[in-house]
Symmetry: C2
Subunit: 362 residues, 2 copies
Amino acid sequence: MKHDRIFNFNAGPAVLPLPVLEEIQESFLNFKGSGMSITEISHRSKWFDDVINEAVERTKRLLNLDDRYHVLFMQGGASLQFALMPMNFLGDNQSADYVNTGTWSSKAIKEAEIQKKKIQVVASSEDRNFSYIPGNISFNRDAVYVHITSNNTIKGTQWAAFPETSGVPILVDMSSDFMCRPIDMKNVGLIYAGAQKNIGPAGVCLVIVRKDLLERVPKNLPTMLKYTTYSEKNSMYNTPPCFGVYTIQLVLKWLEETVGGLNKMKEINDRKAKLLYDFFDSGDFYKGTAEPGSRSLMNVTFRLPSEELEKKFIAEATANKLGGLKGHRSVGGCRASIYNATPAEAVPALIDFMKTFEKKNG
Amino acid sequence: MKHDRIFNFNAGPAVLPLPVLEEIQESFLNFKGSGMSITEISHRSKWFDDVINEAVERTKRLLNLDDRYHVLFMQGGASLQFALMPMNFLGDNQSADYVNTGTWSSKAIKEAEIQKKKIQVVASSEDRNFSYIPGNISFNRDAVYVHITSNNTIKGTQWAAFPETSGVPILVDMSSDFMCRPIDMKNVGLIYAGAQKNIGPAGVCLVIVRKDLLERVPKNLPTMLKYTTYSEKNSMYNTPPCFGVYTIQLVLKWLEETVGGLNKMKEINDRKAKLLYDFFDSGDFYKGTAEPGSRSLMNVTFRLPSEELEKKFIAEATANKLGGLKGHRSVGGCRASIYNATPAEAVPALIDFMKTFEKKNG
């Protein structure tokens, strides 16, 4: 493969579009004729203003956001957002609804509880080992917000669509499926996405927040923990993670101009995922772990007949330049993460290898 | 200049060592034969373990740290540290001492006050516009900690040495002079440094913390706001800012192996700064704003006879490939930031330009 690269199925940090990496590399010692690296220019310069503004504008265009939304670049990953949501939005004697679909949802719930905020877990898929997305949920009409994890990287499940909440704002962790397809923003109050899965390097968290929610932010929070600090200063109250924002800007440009937008991206992602799931369903050596109606387009989790075979499978795949197929350390098994930047040819290459491996070991 | 680069006097994000940038560029599409970019490899991989462990070890060696200290990589910049120090270390009915030497110290004080923590400003240089570092300070013997800003990027002042605190731990913001010279760790409890001035790109904050202070961390803080979350997991409770940590690792390698350690670095920095200050003192067209005993090795702030001349000076310097000489927007004037990575030849080039400019406009 070009530059002797592998097919990278890592769950995150994960594969980035090759043209984006090539552009970063090419301009790394001299950004836009500035005579400086992107890592060396001032965040108060015209050069960086153009970068961050373009990243914001492309996010708005790709998702069809209207003026009710701010696009922010924050630090601390999704894990910090777990704490900031209740801290910023949930007052005394108010309550929020949470849906528990696995590790990341559980962590979000835990961070609300640490702060002794009142929350209610209105649905959970723990009864079947988080292998599905709960349906027909009754949300509380007086909840300040509903929290869901859009895609569950570890368990390989994904909401087909956001739930109907009768107008209660939905706060969504989209770290692992942000920009994988168009979304319905109707009830969305906030989206957050750690960049390192689908849109950039680790160290930036893209946040989309609806302006009416910002009125809930208490004035006496530490400055860096208030969403308003970021919304009022275009994410530049202090020095932002410039290199990460720059990479995101290039990935979004690639999404708009090379891929052709989120409808096209969805077609490509549907096709890649279908190849793998159809292959599982056609035999019984590889078994998908997510229930069919809840399967993720991004993280395809599966098991082999034994842990010994799984170990062998991962080792031989790695030797064949198919990297990152090990399941999350908390659940074991195998996982092929097929994000936006996973090249179309990576999936057939993986399936070919899987067929050969099955023939030898099945 | 090589790659058509300029002399970059930005205050931060700032110049990085050219060999470091070249190495990043060269390996950007395939890190250490992994077939992936450093931005695409898992933080749970052997590759990244080696990166972060090397960054920790080099920090310890360069500063002669003993086993009482943890080295952490956090996010949110120095601005988040302002809030975390009182949150983690200052209990009810306890008090901390702060020294106010300018904007960044003031912000640290403000973040303690927002949390209604008890603090005392034991010294300030506000009386002479923060142009000096206060001496002979009486610290409170029962203070939990003393907070100082080691180098004041905006006002161009720097502590010549840390103050004597009779054993009270000193917490130091070293964002703009970290690793510029050896330091005496005798009373140091914590050091924090936003990377983007002397050791890397924006988006990582390197923190050194003495283990006994960690016993003060309350158990019920949000996970991402506790220093113990980072110290217990080698900074990898969640995905760290991998690219930033990698760049820091390379800068520290350059400091150890190319420069030859912090004593050598100090010699070089002393020489660069002396050239500029001696030049100011030899005439009266350019006037340094910091008082002689408090002058910074890193940020050399100065004024010209008029704001009009300053504007002209900055514009002509920029046209002559001497970039980033504008003073901070809050104070105006001029500033030459001469960090570790500023090449030795940059300072004579600047002085030559200054002489020519003075001849034409003096």
